[in-house]
């Protein structure tokens, strides 16, 4: 409930200040500047501890214009429109790969970075799946996609994606409203890779989603957390970090990574080709790797952190929470999303529209 009222407040505030904010966030052209210039940062919604921004501004004398987006595809559209020159973008693995493939990223010079060693080797390795030289992307947070369920509404053990097709839970199933994520469930049920570009496999997955449509309560992204806390739905596809927050709000909730496997993702900070203040961007990324920033972020967002410096200071209980830190065994069948090329992208989008208009 608290989040809901916050949301309403935020809506009011953004409506009132909307125009003013639009004027102010005009990137390099925008109003006030710190002594060392300004940077424009583009991040997922509600994906940083906001206090860090003013901390960074005070510490480095750089003004931060901060902007948010919902889905990586929205970010891509806004970035490529070129209206705003972003200096730092925080986005997901496959989108990093897409931007790389289009020469839209600048290499990040990590040699001068003070805190870069806090990032564990394991995560650099992780990023090599799409950034082979580790030259463009600095790990920010990571997590998985799984099922959140309400134990007071679901009696059986949840360990398979197939429960999302169970008619007992009609009108009580929340699906991801993001195309690649939504396709994870049917593709893994079929035993196919979540990075498949095979049209027959994708069409079969699409048929499964169409079949599921009448059972779906809603297609949501960020709202799933609230819907699950308030008991609106019994089951939902969710990101692990949102699941942790939801479980904290309602102890009846539990999170699982289905045995068929899922997606393990890593979000990274990158510097796009449009950057006008590369030095400031590097400093911001370095700052995100610092102990204080990583700790504040972890406590605010509850996603897995690649920052190993803070691990020692986390409670045993948190470290043992497999929602945040899944075991290697749980990750066995999980894959990282790859960029599939524009042709496959278009196919995914078409199939997704078929699902959404199947009523």
């Amino acid at each position: 409930m608290k989040r809901k009222s916050l949301l309403i407040f935020a809506l009011c505030a953004s409506l009132i200040f909307g125009l003013a904010a639009c004027g102010g966030s005009g990137g390099s052209g925008g109003g006030s500047r710190g002594e060392n210039g300004s940077i424009t940062v583009f991040n997922y919604g509600d994906y940083i501890d906001r206090d860090l921004i003013s901390q960074f501004e005070n510490q480095y004398g750089i003004t931060v214009n901060y902007e948010e987006y919902v889905a990586p595809e929205d970010m891509y559209t806004k970035y490529t429109s070129g209206a705003i020159d972003y200096d730092v973008i925080i986005t997901s693995d496959y989108m990093v790969e897409k931007l790389m493939s289009e020469d839209q990223l600048l290499p990040i010079d990590t040699s001068g970075m003070e805190y870069i060693d806090n990032i564990g080797d394991r995560y650099w390795e992780f990023c090599r799946a799409f950034d082979p030289e580790n030259s463009y992307a600095v790990p920010y947070l990571w997590g998985t996609v799984g099922i959140i369920y309400n134990t007071s509404m679901v009696d059986e053990d949840v360990n398979s994606w197939s429960i999302l097709w169970d008619e007992d839970y009609a009108n009580s199933i929340i699906m991801e409203n993001s195309v690649r994520d939504a396709f994870i469930a049917p593709l893994r049920l079929q035993g196919d890779s979540i990075n498949t570009t095979d049209e027959a496999e994708l069409r079969a997955a699409c048929d499964r989603l169409v079949e599921q449509y009448p059972l779906v309560y809603a297609y949501q992204v960020d709202e799933t957390r609230d819907s699950m806390i308030s008991g609106e739905a019994a089951l939902g596809m969710i990101y692990s970090g949102d699941a942790t927050v939801a479980i904290e709000g309602n102890p009846d909730l539990a999170y699982t990574i289905p045995r068929e496997g899922s997606n393990v993702w890593i979000d990274c900070a990158v510097i796009p080709a449009s950057a006008t203040n590369v030095e400031g961007a590097q400093q911001f990324i370095d700052f995100l790797c610092s102990y204080d920033a990583a700790m504040a972020n972890f406590e605010y967002i509850y996603y897995g952190t690649p920052n190993e410096a803070i691990l020692d200071d986390l409670d045993e209980e948190v470290l043992a929470d497999t929602t945040i830190f899944p075991t290697d065994e749980m990750l066995e069948n999980c894959e990282v999303f790859r960029y599939l090329g524009s042709e496959a992208d278009a196919l995914y989008t078409d199939l997704w529209q078929i699902v959404k208009t199947s009523n």
Partner: protein, 290 residues
């Protein structure tokens, strides 16, 4: 009647007196209109009528033939016609009763209708969402009464409820205004000449309130045909309206050409409905709002 004409003459002479004196006062608005109305329209036409390589094409308009887009347009038309019908059926009798009752309680009811318009419409829709959610207030009351829970949220009916609720004042107020303007002498004359209540209503009230009905229809139909936010919030993204599809073309597919082409199709519908209204509304009273 002569009374009405006199009033209109008067308002015309006021216009004549005011308009040409300081044309430069319109400067700021012209600047605004050029930047935020004309330029975006030019861009929509440019993108809508060109392919990714910049050459002229009608392919973006032809995209409407694809089942997905056709389906979404059908959904939008259904929602906008339905919403308009619901609003009209609810608003007309209410406006009639209120126009006859000019007492304090009548004014109070008008305030009750106008009041919600002071609150941002998204907030009102979020409130509706709370009411009709699976474990929302309506289902809670049903539960307490021992009745079965209803599936209200994320259905087409929920979208109808949201749009009708949101646009209702836009239907009531023009009809109410038109009815208030009806000269009471005309009604009395009709009675004197032997018309009964039904005939008076049919031959006098309905025709004279028509301009208000038409502005009401325009003000409800046109915004609801391009509706997409309500469908997202109350429809759980399960029902894609034409507005949602256009939004997806821009944001998800990053295909500005198809998105603009579909917007042009939508514009055609809006222009058609305005022409139809214009034909019907010979007096031009409905256009005051536009």
């Amino acid at each position: 009647m002569s009374n009405l004409f006199a009033r209109r003459e008067q308002s015309r002479s006021v216009e004549r007196h005011n308009s040409p004196r300081h044309p430069w006062l319109a400067g700021p608005y012209i600047f605004w209109a050029a930047g935020f109305i004309v330029l975006p329209l030019v861009l929509v036409f440019y993108y809508g009528l060109s392919g990714p390589d910049g050459t002229f094409t009608l392919a973006n308009l032809a995209a409407i033939a694809q089942p997905i887009f056709r389906n979404a347009l059908g959904q939008s038309l259904l929602i906008s016609f339905g919403t308009t019908a619901i609003c009209l059926v609810l608003a007309y009798p209410l406006a009639y009763i209120l126009s006859k009752n000019r007492s304090r309680s009548g004014a109070f009811i008008i305030i009750l209708i106008v009041l919600p318009m002071w609150i941002n419409f998204l907030l009102r829709i979020l409130a509706v969402q709370m009411l009709i959610a699976n474990n929302g207030i309506i289902n809670m009351i049903l539960g307490h009464l021992g009745l079965a829970q209803m599936r209200l949220i994320n259905t087409r009916a929920a979208i109808f409820l949201g749009t009708a609720y949101d646009y209702f004042p836009f239907m009531v107020l023009p009809i109410y205004n038109a009815m208030c303007k009806i000269d009471h002498d005309i009604i009395e004359a009709a009675h004197d000449l032997g018309a009964n209540a039904l005939t008076t209503f049919r031959r006098i009230i309905v025709p004279l309130s028509l301009p208000g009905v038409i502005s009401g229809i325009i003000m409800v139909f046109i915004p609801s045909i391009s509706e997409f936010a309500i469908a997202d919030i109350l429809g759980g993204s399960r029902i894609l309206l034409f507005g949602n599809v256009i939004e997806q073309e821009f944001n998800m597919s990053n295909d500005w050409h198809t998105g603009s082409g579909l917007s042009l199709i939508l514009m055609v519908f809006i222009i058609i409905s305005m022409i139809v209204m214009h034909r019907v509304d010979k007096d031009g009273e409905g256009q005051i709002i536009w």
